[in-house]
């Protein structure tokens, strides 16, 4: 195991984050604040409590997940896409580093960034609503696993993409709609029967639901199923990456 290599990849990626700290932090903080002003205060005051939780509070886990999912994907995909784009990938390929070490370095850094962002978002949310976390350990568990799973997914997109359009298309066309329709801002019990069933096919529902349960002990699906789905998503990502590793997919000719 080339630990030194993992370390330098990780810290090099984190360095990119620190260099653009203002953008990295300001944008999620501002968007979270906007969501709270619009949904929490302006509209939320006219919305009834959902399963005993005020609307402003109810959207906190969904809002956090929205940022975590999009940021994990964009950080991880950009991290590996950029060396491919500039050509500096030659160094990574010629170094005594295995694919898994590369993966740990890039995905570890992307997941760490998402975790930091999530903390900042939760702290921002705490300024608007009184946040009490019922199961902090579960909350952290769901958060960490989601950060890792979606950073892995982002890494796959970064490897697959050979232009900037491809890099953007999955987050824009698939992830954002799935997050919005996955119960981030509402409980699926508010939907007609048919749409409740359709929503069950949306993997994001399970992430948001489990995460929300760890805050308020209210959920759309049971927490066990949520946990299972997170692990399933992780397993699928790892399987795809293992296949990419074996075949040298899009990395080696």
């Amino acid at each position: 195991m080339n630990l030194t290599a993992i370390k330098v990849i990780y810290f090099n990626e984190m360095l990119r984050f620190w260099k653009t700290l203002f953008q990295s932090v300001a944008s999620p903080v501002i968007s979270t604040a906007l969501y709270f002003v619009v949904f929490g205060s302006a509209i939320g005051s006219r919305i009834e409590n959902i399963e005993g939780v005020s609307y402003g509070l109810f959207i906190v886990p969904g809002l956090t997940m929205l940022s975590v999912l999009t940021q994990s994907i964009s950080n991880a995909s950009f991290g590996i896409f950029f060396p491919k784009f500039t050509g500096t990938i030659y160094e990574l390929l010629s170094a005594p580093v295995s694919f898994y070490e590369t993966l740990i370095g890039y995905v570890g850094a992307a997941a760490t960034k998402s975790l930091i962002l999530a903390t900042i978002i939760l702290a921002t949310a705490n300024l608007f609503v009184d946040l009490n976390i019922a199961h902090p350990f579960w909350m952290l568990g769901f958060l960490v696993l989601t950060c890792i799973a979606f950073s892995l997914f982002g890494f796959i997109i970064g490897l697959w993409a050979d232009n900037f359009e491809k890099l953007q298309i999955i987050p824009l066309l698939i992830i954002t709609p799935l997050v919005f329709l996955g119960g981030s801002f509402y409980s699926i019990s508010m939907l007609p029967d048919l749409w409740q069933k359709v929503t069950l096919f949306n993997p994001v529902l399970y992430l948001v639901s489990g995460f929300r349960w760890s805050f308020f002990e209210v959920s759309d699906v049971s927490v066990g199923i949520s946990l299972f789905m997170v692990f399933l998503f992780l397993a699928i990502c790892i399987a795809i990456i293992a296949w990419m590793f074996r075949t040298g997919y899009k990395l080696k000719q």
């Binding site: 080339n2 030194t4 290599a5 330098v8 060396p83 500039t86 030659y90 990574l92 010629s94 580093v97």
Partner: protein
């Protein structure tokens, strides 16, 4: 001689069907400087990239210091440094940051003193905190060399290192190459500048169309394939070569003031003294004479021409 890189039956066919390497066999000796010559698209970069691990071979084996490049990739790759042809660098990294990154990536322990000396040798030390994007093309090339040497490799690949490089950097680069050679580093370089190969290499390999046409000691190559030309200025111009000289490869220049006799140095049948004797006997009056030797460039052009 002790070989450090052994290449056996190496071939590479790209997905497009393009056969970039056709069964290459090559032994690279420890501590030598090997120059690979060949026209664009000959397969030089594919060969280097395969040894370094950037391209997977279609068939064949390569070992570096006895270790297989695939099953023992950690050992082989940590012995190799590569300076690529393109100026591929992260624009926002600093010089110091990127060199330290390279050292770590190759699994070497942190050694700031070594890296400091390396940057000084490459006249980069005063730029160590500059971002790469602020550097000139020549400086970027130096950074690539620093990155390749950051982990003290035993083997250094230089892919077209002097393409688009000014005289000063070229001189600096050969100074570094010489220093590395003294330290026992094996250097493999590809180049278009044949005079460079002629000046610096111990052996020369010629690649064309994915095939290694030959690998020979530079001096022996020059000797075996090198032609010499005996140029004789005449006191009085003549209209044609005397008939007694027609059996030799002798040509007369346009104004009839100079005759030239071309011969292969190694050719036993070429007898310069006999030719000279015949020339004097033919009644030609000699004013002056000199001998010119063909350069590696002429040899290279002839070889590739023959091949195509």
């Amino acid at each position: 001689m002790d070989s450090i890189i052994s290449i056996q039956g190496l071939s590479k066919t790209y997905k497009s069907g393009f056969e970039a390497l056709k069964t290459v066999d090559l032994e690279i000796n420890r501590g030598e400087i090997l120059a690979l010559l060949g026209p664009n698209g000959a397969g030089k970069t594919t060969l280097i990239s395969t040894i370094c691990g950037i391209i997977s071979p279609s068939s064949g084996f390569v070992t570096v210091d006895g270790f297989d490049i695939i099953s023992d990739f950690r050992k082989t790759r940590s012995m190799i440094g590569l300076v690529p042809q393109e100026l591929t660098l992260g624009a926002f990294d600093t010089v110091w940051g990127t060199v330290r990154f390279s050292r770590g990536l190759f699994g070497a322990k942190r050694d700031d003193a070594y890296l400091e000396q390396l940057l000084k040798d490459l006249s980069l030390f005063d730029k160590k905190d500059s971002e790469i994007r602020a550097l000139s093309g020549g400086m970027k090339r130096r950074v690539l060399i620093a990155k390749a040497l950051s982990h003290q490799p035993k083997v250094l690949f230089l892919d077209e290192p002097t393409a688009g490089v000014d005289v000063e950097l070229r001189k600096d680069m050969w100074k570094i190459v010489n220093k590395l050679r003294k330290q026992g580093v094996t250097i493999i370089l590809t180049t278009h500048y044949i005079e460079e190969a002629e000046e610096i290499a111990d052996r020369v390999g010629v690649i064309s169309n994915g095939e290694l046409l030959l690998v020979e000691k530079k001096d022996e190559l020059m000797e075996s394939l090198g032609k010499k030309q005996l140029l004789i200025d005449l006191k009085e111009p003549v209209k044609k070569i005397p008939s007694t000289l027609e059996k030799y490869d002798i040509e007369l220049n346009e104004d009839g003031t100079q005759i030239s006799y071309t011969y292969v140095v190694k050719d036993e049948t070429a007898d310069v003294s006999e030719v000279l004797h015949e020339i004097t006997n033919s009644g030609l009056l000699l004013k002056d004479l000199k001998v010119e030797q063909s350069s590696l460039e002429d040899i290279f052009v002839d070889l590739v021409k023959e091949e195509s």
